[in-house]
């Protein structure tokens, strides 16, 4: 079974994240960049499915040159090869423009049975890229999976959201997005890290995918950011030591604020 995993490099959530003043796009230099944690889980799930069903695991990433670090991480976990779409024209692409490029990039991988992704990226929190890629590829989208099972040409997923746990079924090929509960991702081994250096990464420009520069980037996107401003950080308020009356003091504060 051939599996594609969509992985994204994001600013580390531990660092301060900013927007660039000039064009309101993500300031990629201001924060450390990492493979999004949810994508580690997607790679882990792909590797587990591969262990049972065989086939190849290909990582697909749309992002600037430095995203190769995120790709190497996925390869060192055990993925077989990668497709990296990097192009200056992509700067400032919105979700739809990104989805179009991702769908085209998935199309370069032969005989794909399953596309795995994270349910939501920690930077944009669009939470719809997997569904949008499915829409573009004409595939079913089984999203927010906490459990995945493949049986012949059928895939079954347990989807967990606020609506409850839904038991889903669709036919392959399909797109699946995973949630935080699906698994614990493995750490790359030393051997894995060394092996990853030799694994094939095909780097593509949008022209290689037949995508026109007018469809992507700041200019080609169907939405525009018109303004962006940082919010002033919250200031610390009062702090008291509990001397046996901490609960009373909180209650008094709440009464003072007319909150109770």
């Amino acid at each position: 079974m051939n599996i594609v995993v969509l992985v994204k490099q994001v600013p580390d959530t531990y660092s301060e994240r900013k927007l660039a003043d000039a064009d309101h796009t993500l300031d990629r230099d201001s924060a450390d960049a990492v493979l999004d944690e949810i994508n580690e889980r997607a790679v882990e799930e792909a590797l587990q499915l591969q262990a049972t069903h065989g086939g190849e695991v290909t990582v697909v990433c749309v992002g600037p040159d430095r995203a190769t670090d995120a790709i190497r991480k996925a390869l060192s976990m055990g993925a077989d090869k990668a497709v990296h779409v990097s192009d200056a024209a992509l700067h400032g692409s919105d979700a739809i423009a990104t989805a179009k490029v991702l769908a085209k990039a998935v199309g370069t991988v032969e005989g794909v049975d399953l596309v795995l992704a994270g349910n939501e990226a920690t930077d944009g929190r669009v939470g719809a890229l997997p569904a949008m890629v499915a829409e573009l590829l004409g595939l079913p989208a089984l999203t927010h999976a906490r459990k995945v099972e493949v049986d012949g040409s059928t895939v079954k997923v347990e989807r967990e959201t606020d609506e409850g746990v839904f038991f889903l079924e669709a036919s392959l090929p399909a797109v699946i997005s995973v949630n935080e509960k699906i698994n614990e991702p493995r750490y790359p081994s030393f051997k894995g890290i060394m092996a990853a250096k030799k694994k094939p990464v095909s780097t593509l420009a949008i022209g290689d995918l037949g995508v026109d520069a007018g469809e992507v980037g700041l200019g080609g996107s169907w939405t525009q950011v018109t303004e962006a401003a940082p919010k002033p950080p919250r200031a610390a308020g009062q702090r008291v030591e509990d001397e046996g009356d901490g609960g009373v003091k909180v209650a008094e504060y709440l009464v003072g604020q007319k909150l109770i």
């Binding site: 301060e16 930077d123 719809a128 079913p140 959201t161 609506e163 038991f167 996107s221 169907w222 308020g237």
Partner: protein, 319 residues
């Protein structure tokens, strides 16, 4: 006045609060038309509620498939309506399902997608709050009919009268190769507490609560305040509390009037989901805990002493 399509968020015919927020937001742009997609009989259950928030029209798309297939029925119905009604915008809730409906619909109709808006202006441009509230951004759609997902709790619902005139629609059949069938469902045990994203008070517990049993301390305070219960990821990962209650970067974003953090250190990823709360109270036995940096009122102490005392005090004042 131009129509604005609002996808009704409901569970088996019970309207979710966010729908009223969507209808309110829609009135800033034009005349709201509610779109009901669900099992036969759904519209009859929801019509009155929609009329109470200004729905001029109610499009009714009912079928067994609409209830048993994931996301595509909503996309198919809305896409057909966008062609038919030429609306000024389409609004859906920024829930996991709504975000997907919006994304797919925008692609299907060649329209700009605006995600997770916390406010919607008359020209269908939006305000967004990103990186856990660290930045406020304004954006607009330059192409097609703006498809906007609106964050639950982002816009305050205001009642208004609407005719809610029903108009029936077909649910188009989806190509079998693209269908996702919902074979069965299990509700999550939420209990009688308000929903996290809807509650005006949230009481959250972290790793400091120490066990699933001790979460009772958090729940008791929450119940006395009429609050929702939340949890940090460490509390969820340790199995103290279910996943759906996680607040933070990869959990729920909440912005209540009052947020009470018990035994939570205040890691940046937790703060990302709650720092836009109006008032923040923290109880932590570590003076250095970063949660105190953003708390309006902090108590350095043992949550097992402070929280029960607070619960009693609140109960007393309620009489």
């Amino acid at each position: 006045m131009a129509e604005v399509l609002v996808l009704v968020d409901h569970v088996d015919g019970e309207v979710k609060k966010v729908t009223y927020e969507l209808l309110t937001a829609a009135r800033a742009i034009g005349e709201p038309s509610a779109v009901v997609v669900g099992a036969p009989g759904t519209a009859a259950k929801v019509n009155q509620a929609l009329a109470g928030y200004g729905a001029a029209k109610v499009y009714v798309a009912e079928s067994e498939n609409a209830a048993n297939q994931l996301v595509t029925p909503e996309v198919d119905v809305l896409a057909a309506l966008v062609g038919q009604a030429s609306p000024a915008a389409v609004l859906v809730a920024a829930t996991p399902k709504g975000k997907e409906v919006a994304g797919r619909l925008a692609i299907r109709t060649g329209s700009g997608l605006l995600v997770d808006a916390v406010d919607v202006a008359a020209d269908a441009s939006v305000t967004q709050s990103i990186f856990g509230g660290a930045f406020t951004v304004k954006a607009k759609a330059g192409t097609g009919v703006p498809v906007i997902s609106v964050r639950p709790g982002g816009v305050e619902a205001v009642a208004a009268e609407g005719a809610a005139t029903e108009q029936a629609l077909e649910v188009p059949a989806t190509d079998a190769a693209k269908v996702v069938t919902i074979t069965s469902r299990e509700p999550l045990k939420g209990g009688d507490r308000p929903e996290l994203t809807e509650a005006s008070i949230v009481v959250s517990g972290g790793r400091g609560v120490g066990s699933a049993e001790s979460f009772e301390v958090v729940e008791k305070l929450a119940d006395t305040l009429g609050a929702a219960v939340g949890a940090s990821r460490a509390a969820v990962d340790s199995g103290y509390y279910p996943h759906q209650f996680q607040v933070g970067q990869t959990g729920k974003t909440v912005s209540p009037q009052l947020y009470i953090a018990l035994g939570i250190s205040g890691a940046i990823q937790h703060r990302a989901g709650m720092q836009t709360s109006k008032t923040i109270i923290a109880v932590n036995k570590d003076t250095e805990a970063p949660i105190f940096e953003i708390a309006d009122f902090g108590v350095v102490g043992d949550l097992f002493k402070v929280a029960p005392q607070l619960t009693d005090e609140v109960a007393k004042r309620k009489g």
